[in-house]
Structures are given as structure tokens and as C-alpha cells.
Amino acid sequence: MGIDLALLWAIIILFGILMYVIMDGFDLGIGILFPFMPDAHDRDVMMNTVAPVWDGNETWLVLGGAGLLAAFPLAYAVILHAFMLPLIFMLLGLIFRGVAFEFRFKAEPDKRHWWDKAFIFGSFCATFFQGVVLGAYMDGLTVIDRSYVGGVLDWITPFSIFTGLGLIVAYALLGCAWLIFKTEGLLYDRMRALARPLTLVLLAVIVVISIWTPLAHQAIADRWFSFPNLIWFAPVPVLVALAAYYLLAALGRKPHAGPFLLTLGLIFLGYSGLGISIWPNIIPPDISIWDASGPPQSQGFALVGALLIVPFILMYTAWSYYVFRGKVRHGEGYH
């Protein structure tokens, strides 16, 4: 066969999930940062920076799910079976924060704090369980005869709890850098001060995961520390160090978009690192993208759509961000 459909689909889904992590990452991060900014006006501004774009961001998550079902139905069935509970907790978290966007402004002023709390709870909950699923996924799933046979609570491990907490830090930094980009005044100063410790903690998280995964999984150790892979993958940690250095340096000046772009770089590198660790498996530890592939008729049909339409999606999404460009100020919305 000429085209490796499974490979193309794996790339599309990886791209979709990366888009999701980056885009919903910063708006989930805003919910995570809410507790640090108790002032109601600051919270208005924080929410207004993402109000026009948040549900487009969340659509990438749906694309990830739909793409997985379309191209790798076995992986979709097994992974969602194994992680039913944490995924449902994540979905419920997304509901709490999603409704808060509109409800917050519709509630009586004395009841508004309830929706702030829903927004905070939902953002933490969704982020934590995304991270837990990520960690448990890296740890691998027990599959016999196309069915998940592990336990209901197998996803609860020290590593998955750690990745859950780690993702909260990562999204908080993304949100923080986004707000540095989109706000000014006191809010801007607070975020700039917060970004430095967040960056350092995130670096620590990345280091711990980089040590933990090869120690726990021989296959991951072999992937990274064998020759010549060592040379091919060496740029990843080097670039992480460079991005972190420039990020911390930028925070010392009067930054604008810089920290956000550098944080995106950091997240991208961390994501690549995880990808390198498990490639080409789609159900770790040993079911590959080719094993889990749906029929080529399905992959091919959906691929045509994806290749034709994704560029347009990127174009009008960019246009929407362009329409709402610039700093958001106190008492100023988007009309």
C-alpha cells in the first residue's frame, strides 16, 4: 500500500491533542490561577481574555476523541474503557467550568462567588484528571483479546497522581503567561511575579518525569539511552533548558508575548518527550498504531476530510484570535 494511513492518522491525532493541550491549557490555567486573584474585577478581566475562544479550544478535545474512534477504534474502546472513571471526572470538571463562563455574569452579584468556585473546582478537576489519565496511559494497559482486563482503579498510581499534579502546574504556567500577554497593570504584575516560581516548579516536574519513566519502564530507558537514539533525542532536553532559560530571562524584563511563546515551546518539548517514549504504541506497552488501526476505508475517508478542512479551521481560528487581539482592560469587554 502506498500511503501509511495509520501513521498519518497518528500524526493528526497527536497534532489535535497538542492543540488541545496548548489552547485549553491556557484557559484551564486561568481557572487554576483564580484563587490567586480574589478581586472580582481582576477575575472579570481574566475570564474575558478567553470568553470568545474557550469553546473552540475545547473542540480539539472532541476531535481527539472522534479521530481516535475513526482511525483506531480498538484504542478508543480500550483506553476509554480502562479510564472511564477519571475521564468522567474530567468531563464533569469541564462542565462545571464551561457553564461558569456564562452563568457567572447572569447570577445575582451576591451569588456570583458560587460560579467562581465552580470555575475553580472545574478547572482543577479537569486538569488533574487529564494528567492522571496521561500518567496511567504512560504506565500501560493490560489488554487480552481486544479487551481491557485491568481493574477499575488501576489508573490510581503514584506516577499518575504525580502527572495529575504536574499538569496543574503546566496549565497554570500557560494561563499565567497568557495573562501576561493579554493584560496590564496590577494583574500583569501579579502574573509576572507568579510566572517565575511556576516555571521552576514545572522544570522540576519535567526532570522528575524524565527520571521516573525510564526507571519504571525498561523500554523507555532503551528508547532514550541507546545509541544512536541518544544523539537524535539529545536536542529535546537541551532545548528544554534553553527555553526555560530564556523564559526566566524574559520575566526579568517587561515582557509581552515572549513568556507565552516560550511556555508553548516548553509544553511542546515535554509533549514530544512523552511521544518519543511510547512511539509507535497507541496502547502502551505493546499495541502499536498499526495493530489498532481501523479499516483503511475508514481511515482514508476521514483523512480526506481532515487534510482538506483542518487548514481552514486553523485559518478562521486565527482570524477569531486576531479579532480579539490586544490587551483586555478593567471594565472593558469585547463589544
Partner: protein, 471 residues
């Protein structure tokens, strides 16, 4: 009834989809309505249309948010609770869902920001374009998901290889026999449900003496919609029923509480009764002779299969679908009556004064959504025991979970949905109670407490803050 993981998963899916479908139905209807309102505003410069746009777009924003978050749940539930189905038929439903995301969800989400918050950020033409793109997105979305759902009712264009469905003809898959009927029926149902909600809102304001040009305009528009579309829906429903009779005869037998044919005898229409699945008869039946034959075979003496012609394990629950179907049809007839009454009142020049009509419209406010849900229960429960008609049984589709974890998830869904979406519905009703304002929106735009166009003078800011505090 055994509360095992299968039953709990069915309840969970039924519960979450029932809540979910309300929001997209209103989204579909309101998005098209908003596009029409904005087109009228741009064409006529009549500010009534602009005021109505800004009024309904607030409702739209709250409703859309709830539709998005309850919809994300659906995309994942196919796997968490129906993994065997996903593994078996994901090759068909997956690509259709992927196309829905690519062509519809992104389109809606991408232009929604400009539609809600961009009134003064972009020119009128671009803003209108955004509204139209959102409306188009809702219709494209309905198209894909109904293609997928219809395929589960009337599958074709596939082969089974290694116990997996393999699509061999995508055109046949998408244009499966029940799809065109279901698509038109559902789209019209969404329009009707929205028109009834708009009419009820207008009726409520008129009954309280809030008689403004905007309120009159929305009553008038909703009544035109009902007059034209409610009867059309009945015709479409009839065609849909004939199509079902051809492809899913057991469903029709269950809907009609029709158990067996007697040689040479016409089938009556059972108006009301209680189909008893154990005794295999319909108790307390009130029959109209020949009408069953007339409706379903369009002939005086025609026969169609009774439930006894199907093995007991292949029969849908007649008790349930008999009644859900009658609720839907009954409400549909009331919608036609409301449309006719509105037309008569309009002709007599009393459309805005007939309190009885306004009360009727108010009472029918939720009828569209109830009918829509009843219709979905009819068609989905009527497909049982199959998840894919004739191909896979629902019992074989469920994820092999224990009852404990499915029960926990179900309880969480019920609690969270009632609290959060309950609050959302209260907010929507509150927005409707405020009524259309006869000026450009200055505060309280969607997602905003205040939405001034450009930096304001301090005095204006203060005045606005006071307004907000009072509002």
C-alpha cells in the same frame, strides 16, 4: 428490572443524551432565527430586529455553552460505556463523528466568539457572516450525527470482516434509507421547539402588559413558523413512519400496540390502550376501525406485521413506545391548532390582544422539546433490542464494567446535570423575563457584565455600574 451494568449504562446514556439534545435543538432553531433577524436588520434598518437579535443572542449564548459541555460527554461515552460497540462499528460512526467535528463543531466555535462578542469589533457584514456560519454549523452538525444515528437504524454499505464493520460504500452508508426522513423531521422539530419557546415568551410579556413592537414582532414571526411548519412536520412524520414500516416493522408494530393480523381484516388504529408485553395484547384498547391500515398502508384493508410475528427476544417494549409516540403526535396536533388559531387571530386583527391565544402559546412553551424527546424515545427504544438494527444487540455492545462504577458515574451525572443545567435553565428563563430592550446593548452582553465599545468617560462608567447593580 435488573440494575446491572447494562441497564445502568442504558439509563446513563438515555439521561445524558436527553439533557444534551434539548440544548442543540434550541441552538439549531435559535441560530437560524438569529441569522434571519440579523438579515432583516441589515435589509430594513428596523431597530426592532436588532433589539430582538440582542435579546435572543443572550439566550443563545447560555444555551450554547450548555450544549458544548454536555456534548463533549457524548463523544466520550461511546467508549467509556459502549466500548464493544465502538470496537465493532467505530469504523463507521467514528469517521462520521470526525466529519461532524471538522465541518461543524469548529465552524460553530470559531465564529461564535465574533457572533457573541464582536458586534462592534467587526463590520456589520462580517458579523452577519459569522452568525450565518454558526447557523450553518448547527445544521451541518445535525446532518452528520443523524447520518450516523440513522445508519444504526437502517445500516447499509458495509461488510463484516473479522467481526468488525468495514465500510465499503460511504455514499450508501451516509444516504442510508432512514436518513433523509430523520434529518428533515429533526430539523423541523428543532425549528418548532424554538418557535414555541419564542411564542411563549411573547405570550408571557403580552399577558403582563409588556406590549412593545419587539414583543409583537417575535409573536408574529413565531406564529408564521408554527402555521407553516407544524402541518409540514405532520406530513414528514407520516413519510418517516412509512419508511420505518419498511425497514423496522417491529418498531411500528410496537408503536401501534398491534399484535397480530386476522386474515382479510383491516388493522384498526388503537387511540389509547395499555400494551402488555407479557400477555401479548393491548389492554383497554380504544380502536378506530381501518384507520391503522389507512395511515400505515394508505389503503382501506392493508395489513402490516404484528408484534407476534417477531420472536419475543426481538420485540421492542410496546408499552413505552406506544405512549411516547402518542405524546409526540398529540403535542404535534396541538401545535397545528396553535398555528391555526394564530392565523385566525391575525386575520381578525386580534393577534396581539387575544389573551386566550397568548395563554395557549405560553402553555405550549416547552411542548416542542417534550415532543422532540418523546419522538427520540420512540425511535430509539423502538430499535431495541438492537443497537445497530439487525447487526448488534445492545446487550453485546456495553463495556464490561461492574455495576458499582457505572452506578457511581450515573449518580454523579444526575446530580451535576440537575444542579448545573437546572441553574442554566433558570438563567434562560430570567433572561426571557427581562424581555427585549429597545436600544443597543450597553451592558449585560453575553459573557459580559458590561460591554462598552470603547473607553468611556467616568460618568458613563458610573451610570452603567449603577444600572448593572440595579439590574
Amino acid at each position: 428490572m435488573d440494575l446491572d451494568a447494562l441497564m445502568l449504562s442504558r439509563i446513563q446514556f438515555g439521561f445524558t443524551i436527553s439533557f444534551h439534545i434539548i440544548f442543540p435543538a434550541i441552538t439549531i432553531g435559535l441560530a437560524s432565527y438569529l441569522a434571519v433577524l440579523e438579515a432583516c436588520w441589515l435589509r430594513t434598518s428596523n431597530t426592532v430586529y436588532r433589539d430582538l437579535y440582542h435579546f435572543w443572542v443572550k439566550v443563545f449564548a447560555v444555551n450554547f455553552g450548555m450544549g458544548v459541555v454536555s456534548g463533549v460527554v457524548m463523544a466520550y461515552q461511546f467508549g467509556t460505556n459502549w466500548s464493544q460497540f465502538s470496537d465493532f462499528a467505530g469504523s463507521i460512526t467514528g469517521p462520521l463523528l470526525a466529519y461532524e467535528v471538522l465541518t461543524a463543531f469548529f465552524l460553530e466555535a470559531g465564529f461564535l466568539g465574533v457572533m457573541l462578542f464582536g458586534w462592534k469589533r467587526v463590520g456589520p457584514g462580517l458579523h452577519f457572516f459569522s452568525t450565518v456560519m454558526v447557523a450553518l454549523g448547527t445544521l451541518i452538525s445535525a446532518t452528520w450525527i443523524l447520518a450516523s444515528n440513522s445508519w444504526m437504524h437502517t445500516p447499509q454499505g458495509y461488510e463484516i470482516i473479522n467481526n468488525q464493520v468495514v465500510p465499503v460504500d460511504w455514499v450508501a452508508v451516509i444516504l442510508n434509507p432512514s436518513f433523509p426522513y430523520r434529518l428533515v423531521h429533526m430539523t423541523l422539530a428543532a425549528y418548532l421547539a424554538t418557535a414555541l419557546m419564542v411564542a411563549a415568551s411573547a405570550g408571557w410579556h403580552l399577558l403582563r402588559g409588556n406590549d412593545s413592537p419587539a414583543v409583537r414582532k417575535m409573536l408574529s414571526m413565531a406564529m408564521w413558523m408554527l402555521l407553516l411548519v407544524a402541518p409540514l412536520q405532520a406530513v414528514v412524520g407520516d413519510f418517516h413512519g412509512l419508511n420505518t414500516l419498511k425497514h423496522q416493522p417491529a418498531k411500528i408494530a410496537a408503536i401501534e400496540g398491534h399484535w397480530e393480523n386476522k386474515p382479510g381484516e383491516a388493522v384498526p388504529l388503537t387511540l389509547i390502550g395499555w400494551p402488555d408485553m407479557k400477555e401479548e395484547r393491548t389492554r383497554f384498547a380504544v380502536d378506530i376501525p381501518h384507520l391503522g391500515s389507512l395511515i400505515l398502508t394508505h389503503s382501506w384493508d392493508g395489513q402490516f406485521k404484528g408484534l407476534k410475528e417477531f420472536a419475543p427476544e426481538d420485540r421492542p417494549n410496546s408499552t413505552v413506545v406506544f405512549w411516547t409516540f402518542r405524546i409526540m403526535v398529540g403535542l404535534g396536533l396541538l401545535m397545528i391548532a396553535l398555528g391555526l388559531w394564530g392565523a385566525w387571530a391575525r386575520w381578525r386583527g386580534t393577534l396581539y390582544r387575544q389573551r386566550g391565544l397568548h395563554r395557549f402559546a405560553l402553555g405550549m412553551g416547552a411542548a416542542g422539546l417534550v415532543a422532540l424527546l418523546a419522538g427520540w424515545y420512540t425511535t430509539e427504544i423502538g430499535r431495541q433490542p438492537w443497537i445497530i438494527h439487525g447487526l448488534m444487540r445492545t446487550a453485546d455492545a456495553v463495556t464490561p464494567h461492574g455495576a458499582g462504577e457505572v452506578g457511581l458515574a450515573l449518580v454523579l451525572f444526575i446530580v451535576v446535570y440537575f444542579i448545573l443545567f437546572g441553574a442554566g435553565i433558570v438563567y434562560i428563563l430570567r433572561l426571557i423575563r427581562t424581555g427585549p430592550q429597545s436600544h443597543e446593548p450597553q451592558e449585560g452582553g453575553p459573557g459580559e457584565r458590561r460591554t462598552p465599545a470603547r473607553p468611556m468617560s467616568a460618568a458613563e462608567e458610573d451610570k452603567r455600574s449603577n444600572d448593572t447593580a440595579r439590574g
